[in-house]
Symmetry: C2
Subunit: 238 residues, 2 copies
């Protein structure tokens, strides 16, 4: 938790915030707060700044909060991801959020186990929890948008061509020969397949929709590794 | 397990291998092998190729093995990493191996908890286990070399200047302004700090030893994310 994320409901006065629960425990046990200590805070959906501890009680603490900084720029990389195993999915949603991705699509593909779509990790409260953890890690306040696309063909045929317009549109495909570009100066749409990859039918459909196949070395990567590897390569950082 | 890693002790004849234990279970339960099925195999430290299933018993199976392919090129990126939390360390050693890193140094720094150096994850058998898992993931057969450097100053002053000679030598430092380069065409030495980063004294010593500070965006990254993000960015893939 590099930033303590606040909700409007936390405010007990215009500049005064009361923290309880998980954030209170973190402030006490990890940050060892005492009166006068300053913490990095941010308002969900809004600005970030500092919170000065003014009172530590048994089960809560109060902060005097000044919010003056704009949130960091969104990462202009939209990610379309074959629905991962539920356990991995949680970590991935958190990790994408922490890296600043604001548009995430989970897509069905041939090699996605159908049961994944019924997993409790897709419950809105669970998704939000992972997003919050990611924002706290990445010192950000703006929630990503998540789209679920449990039908491959209609999404790729009807929606994807518009989504990729004006972007550098790529699909990570270990079997192709074109290396993934680096430090791309325009918005990116990046599709990443499931364990085992997209089928050749799926690659053909994604190509039709305007995506180019790219690879990142000959070694098969876990999805959890491929995502930061591709994003770290593609991103501009000024 | 994208490749079944063989040891010379597995050979019961010049081309015949018997698998038991973890690899046997994987072949049966994940790959659902039957006679005649071909698996990707590799000899630890040697060539890779195919193994054709010729017998499946209750607790073992036999393969007819043909090893004709050289292992993939080593990734020319040497990683110097502040000793991570033991639980994270296992995953990191596995992940670095899977990406093809062959030189890994674990280094003590100011923000490394001293207890980490006594962890059982640093037992040679534990390290080897993570390396094997990484090679199986990355379809590689060549074990990395691991160096433990529990004393920062002597390593950085006496050994590091020689190690970085002729390489693009970088230290990931979120507070600097220079973006991390991409697709570097020469060997790389990459130093990555602990949670909370290197101290400014440590950065000064690393700079003296010839490393340049680079950053990858303003959002703090977990070490598990920073490693693939930096390697994915730096690597050449033809």
């Amino acid at each position: 938790m590099n930033l303590i994320l606040l909700d409007t409901a936390d405010f007990i006065d215009s500049h005064r915030v009361r923290l309880t629960g998980r954030r209170f425990v973190h402030a006490c046990e990890v940050l060892s707060v005492t009166n006068g200590k300053t913490l990095q805070v941010g308002l969900l959906g809004g600005k970030s700044g500092t919170g000065t501890v003014i009172n530590v009680h048994m089960h809560s603490l109060e902060l005097d909060v000044r919010l003056e900084l704009e949130p960091p720029e969104p990462l202009p990389i939209s990610v379309i991801l074959a629905m991962p195993r539920p356990k991995v999915c949680k970590r991935i949603l958190q990790g994408l959020t922490a890296m600043g991705v604001k548009n995430i699509t989970l897509l069905n593909t041939w090699r996605v186990d159908k049961s994944y779509w019924k997993s409790s990790v897709l419950a809105p409260a669970e998704i939000r929890k992972q997003f919050i953890l990611g924002l706290e890690q990445g010192c950000d306040t703006i929630l990503p948008r998540l789209q679920l696309q449990p039908r491959f063909k209609p999404f790729v045929e009807d929606s994807l061509p518009d989504l990729v317009t004006g972007t550098c549109a790529l699909v990570a495909h270990p079997l192709c020969s074109q290396p993934c570009p680096a430090v791309v100066q325009q918005p990116v749409t990046l599709a990443i397949g499931p364990e085992g990859g997209f089928t050749s039918y799926e690659i053909a459909k994604l190509t039709e929709a305007g995506l180019s196949s790219v690879q990142l070395g000959s070694r098969p990567m876990r999805v959890e590794t491929a995502i930061p590897a591709l994003i770290g390569r593609l991103m501009c950082c000024h």
